[in-house]
C-alpha cells in the first residue's frame, strides 16, 4: 500500500455510513433492555430501522414484524426478520467500506456468483433459536445464571453436526461472555453492538434450510502464504492463512484463504494452541518454514476459501512471504464476499506497507496516519508491539472497526540491536523458537496432553 493509496482510503467519510450505523445503534439499544419492555422511544427506533428498508424487498415484511414485536407478539419469524434487517444495514456498510478500499488500492474483485445450493442441514436448530428468542425478550440487562446455562444443551447438540460448527461456536462464545459478565445488570456498560452482532448472526445461521460452506469448484496450483490470522475464544480456535494462489491453468493469481478450526478449552492458550492442529502438518510446516504448498484439485468456495484436504496438498519450495507480497499481491484478484458474510468485521484485506514511521499505535506513511491494531498480536506467535515499533516493512490485514481503518500486523521486518530480524505470526507453528518461551512452555507442561489423558481415562468409563 502506497502513501497515495492510504490517502485515498482515508479520504473522508463514505456518505450514509454514519446514518446507517445510527439505525443499528437504535436496534442494539432495544436488545439491551429486552423486547418484553419496548418503551415508546425504543419502538421508534425499530420503526426507523424498518423505514430505512422500506424500498427494499425486505421492507414490507420488516415493517409488519416491527409492528407485531412492539405490540408484544414476539415470534420466531418476527425475530428472524429483525435480525435480517439489521444484517442488511451492516451489509450495506460493509459494501461501502470495502468498495472504498478496492477503489483506493486498485484491487480487482471477482463479482459474486452464487455457488450450487448447499443441501440444507437437518440439524438441531430449534433449541438454539429458542435460546436466542429468550435472550431478545429478556434483554442483556436481564440475563441470569439459568438463562445462560440453558445455552449448554443447544451448543452440545450443534457441536455434534460439523456443518453447524459456525453456529455452535457463536452461541458458545456469546454464552461465555454473558457468564463472565455476571451480573450484567451491574455492568457500567454493555457491549451492545457486539452482542447484537453475535445474536443476529446466530439467529440467521439457525434458520431452517441453512447449509455449510459450499465448494464452487476446485483449484490446482501453488499457494504462496502471506501470513496467518488467528481467531480464538475459550472453546474454539481457527487459523486463517492468507495467501496468493498461482493457478496451474495460467489464469490470474488470486487471493485465497485456508482455514483450520479446532475445539479447545480455555486453559489451552499461547503456543500450545498449535498442538491442536497437528493433524495438518503440511499447513503448519509451510507456515513455520515459509514454504509454498502445491494444491491438487482442492475445493474452493466462491468467497475464496480453500477447503483444506491434507491428502491433496504437498509441501513446496521455500517462499518468502515478503517476496510474495512485493511481487504478487498488487495484481492478485480478490474474491467476492458471500452475501450473508457481508459485515464490517469480515473486512480483512492483506497489504504490504513499507517506508513508514511508527509512534505508539499509529503508523504514518507519507504524512497519512493509520491506526495499528496491536491487540491482535496473538500469544501463539513471536510478534510483539516492540517488534512492530522497530519494523520497516509489514504485511498486515486492513480492517475497518470502530469507525476507522486499522492495520493488523501479520509479519514484520525490523531492526533490533542493529541486526535485521523478521517475525511472522506462524513462526511457532511447529513449536516456539524463542528460548525464553520454550522454557516457559516446559515449566507449564503440556496442557493438551494432560487433558487428553484425563479425557481418555474419564470419558469412556
Amino acid at each position: 500500500m502506497l502513501g497515495v493509496q492510504l490517502a485515498a482510503l482515508l479520504d473522508g467519510p463514505v456518505p450514509g455510513v454514519a446514518e446507517t450505523l445510527d439505525l443499528v445503534d437504535g436496534f442494539d439499544d432495544v436488545l439491551v433492555h429486552g423486547l418484553a419492555r419496548v418503551a415508546e422511544e425504543q419502538a421508534g427506533r425499530l420503526t426507523a430501522m424498518a423505514g430505512a428498508l422500506r424500498d427494499t424487498p425486505l421492507g414490507p415484511a420488516v415493517a409488519e414484524a416491527v409492528e407485531k414485536v412492539t405490540a408484544g407478539s414476539i415470534g420466531d419469524a418476527e425475530l428472524a426478520l429483525l435480525a435480517g434487517a439489521r444484517t442488511t444495514l451492516l451489509g450495506a456498510v460493509h459494501d461501502a467500506r470495502l468498495g472504498r478500499f478496492d477503489a483506493a488500492l486498485g484491487r480487482t474483485r471477482t463479482p459474486w456468483e452464487p455457488p450450487p445450493a448447499a443441501p440444507p442441514v437437518d440439524g438441531p436448530l430449534g433449541a438454539g433459536r429458542s435460546w436466542l428468542q429468550e435472550l431478545a425478550i429478556t434483554g442483556w440487562r436481564g440475563v441470569d445464571h439459568d438463562l445462560v446455562s440453558s445455552a449448554d444443551q443447544a451448543v452440545s447438540a450443534l457441536l455434534g453436526e460439523p456443518r453447524l460448527r459456525g453456529a455452535a461456536v457463536l452461541l458458545d462464545g456469546l454464552a461465555a461472555e454473558l457468564r463472565a459478565s455476571f451480573p450484567v445488570v451491574m455492568m457500567d456498560r454493555v457491549p451492545a453492538r457486539r452482542w447484537a452482532d453475535l445474536w443476529a448472526r446466530a439467529l440467521l445461521l439457525l434458520q431452517p434450510g441453512t447449509g455449510g460452506a459450499v465448494a464452487a469448484g476446485v483449484v490446482s496450483g501453488r499457494l504462496l502464504p502471506l501470513g496467518v490470522d488467528v481467531h480464538e475464544h475459550g472453546t474454539a480456535l481457527q487459523i486463517q492463512v492468507h495467501g496468493v494462489l498461482e493457478p496451474t491453468d495460467g489464469s490470474s493469481a488470486r487471493l485465497v484463504r485456508a482455514s483450520v478450526a479446532a475445539a479447545k478449552v480455555d486453559t489451552i492458550v499461547g503456543p500450545a494452541l498449535w498442538r491442536l492442529l497437528d493433524a495438518h502438518p503440511v499447513l503448519l510446516k509451510a507456515l513455520a518454514e515459509h514454504r509454498s504448498v502445491d494444491l491438487a484439485e482442492l475445493p474452493v468456495t466462491a468467497g475464496g476459501d480453500l477447503i483444506w484436504r491434507d491428502d491433496q496438498v504437498t509441501l513446496g519450495e521455500p517462499a518468502d512471504p515478503f517476496a510474495t507480497a512485493r511481487l504478487r499481491l498488487t495484481d492478485a484478484h480478490a474474491p467476492a464476499v458471500p452475501p450473508l458474510e457481508r459485515h464490517p468485521v469480515r473486512i480483512a484485506e492483506p497489504v504490504l506497507v513499507e517506508g513508514y514511521t511508527i509512534d505508539g499505535d499509529v503508523l504514518t506513511l507519507d504524512g497519512h496516519a493509520l491506526a495499528l491494531d496491536l491487540e491482535r498480536l496473538p500469544d501463539c506467535g513471536p510478534l510483539t508491539p516492540e517488534l512492530v515499533a522497530a519494523s520497516s516493512a509489514c504485511i498486515g490485514l486492513v480492517r475497518w472497526e470502530a469507525g476507522r481503518w486499522a492495520l493488523q500486523p501479520l509479519a514484520v521486518q525490523a531492526t533490533v540491536k542493529r541486526k535485521p530480524v523478521e517475525a511472522h505470526g506462524g513462526d511457532w507453528a511447529l513449536g516456539p523458537t524463542d528460548p525464553k518461551v520454550i522454557k516457559a512452555e516446559a515449566r507449564a507442561g503440556d496442557a493438551v496432553a494432560v487433558l487428553r489423558e484425563r479425557a481418555g481415562r474419564l470419558l469412556r468409563r
Binding site: L21, D25, D28, D152, S156, P162, R163, R165, G166, A167, V169, A176, R179, R189, P191, R193, R194, D197, R201, L205, A213, H231, H233, G234, Q240, V260, A261, A263, K264, V265, T267, V269, G270, L276, A279, H280, T301, D305, I307, P338, E341, V345, R376, L377, P378, D379, C380, E401, G403, Q408, A444, G445, A447, V450, L451, R452, R454, A455, L458, L459
Partner: protein, 159 residues
C-alpha cells in the same frame, strides 16, 4: 452510546493464564461457586470434586461418585487448597476474590480469609461439566471456514 459500546470486537472475557493442569485439570467460576476437579494423589483413575460457594463460603469436597473427602475435618482439605491456588493462577487472585466476595488484604491468603463451614454440595453437576469440558477435545477439527470467528480475534495477554 460510547465508542466501546459501538464496537463489534471488544474483549469481554478476561484472558486466562497458562498453568500446570496435572493436579487440578478443571477450575471454573460458575453457578455461584468456585468449583473444579482435583486429581487424586494416590489413584490415577480417581478425582475429587471441590467447590466453594460465593458469599457464604461454605465448601465441599468429595469423589466423583459422591464419597466425602476424608481430609475434610472442619477446615478446607488439601484438594480445596489446591483448587483455590490454581484458580488464583488461572484467573488472578483479584477476580477469584471478587467472585467469592472475599476481602483479601496485602500478603494474605485467600483460603485463610474464608469463614464458611463444610456443607455437602452435589458433585454430579460439576463432574458432568468437567466431562463436557473434556469432550471439546474429542471433537473433530474442521477445514471449512468459520466466518463467525472473525468476531473472536486471538489477542495479546500479558506475558
Amino acid at each position: 452510546m460510547t465508542d466501546w459500546e459501538r464496537r463489534s470486537v471488544v474483549r469481554v472475557v478476561p484472558p486466562v493464564r497458562p498453568r500446570k493442569l496435572a493436579k487440578v485439570p478443571f477450575v471454573e467460576l460458575a453457578e455461584g461457586r468456585l468449583q473444579g476437579v482435583v486429581s487424586s494423589g494416590s489413584d490415577i483413575a480417581r478425582v475429587y470434586v471441590s467447590s466453594i460457594a460465593a458469599g457464604t463460603h461454605t465448601y465441599s469436597c468429595g469423589t466423583n461418585n459422591n464419597r466425602p473427602c476424608g481430609g475434610l475435618t472442619g477446615s478446607p482439605c488439601k484438594h480445596l487448597q489446591a483448587l483455590v491456588s490454581e484458580a488464583a493462577l488461572q484467573y488472578g487472585l483479584d477476580r477469584v476474590a471478587r467472585y467469592l466476595r472475599v476481602d483479601v488484604g496485602e500478603g494474605e491468603d485467600l483460603i485463610s480469609r474464608l469463614d464458611g463451614a463444610p456443607e455437602r454440595a452435589p458433585a454430579a453437576g460439576v463432574f458432568s461439566r468437567f466431562l463436557r469440558h473434556l469432550a471439546y477435545l474429542e471433537l473433530p477439527d474442521t477445514t471449512e471456514p468459520i466466518a463467525e470467528m472473525q468476531w473472536f480475534p486471538a489477542t495479546r495477554a500479558v506475558r
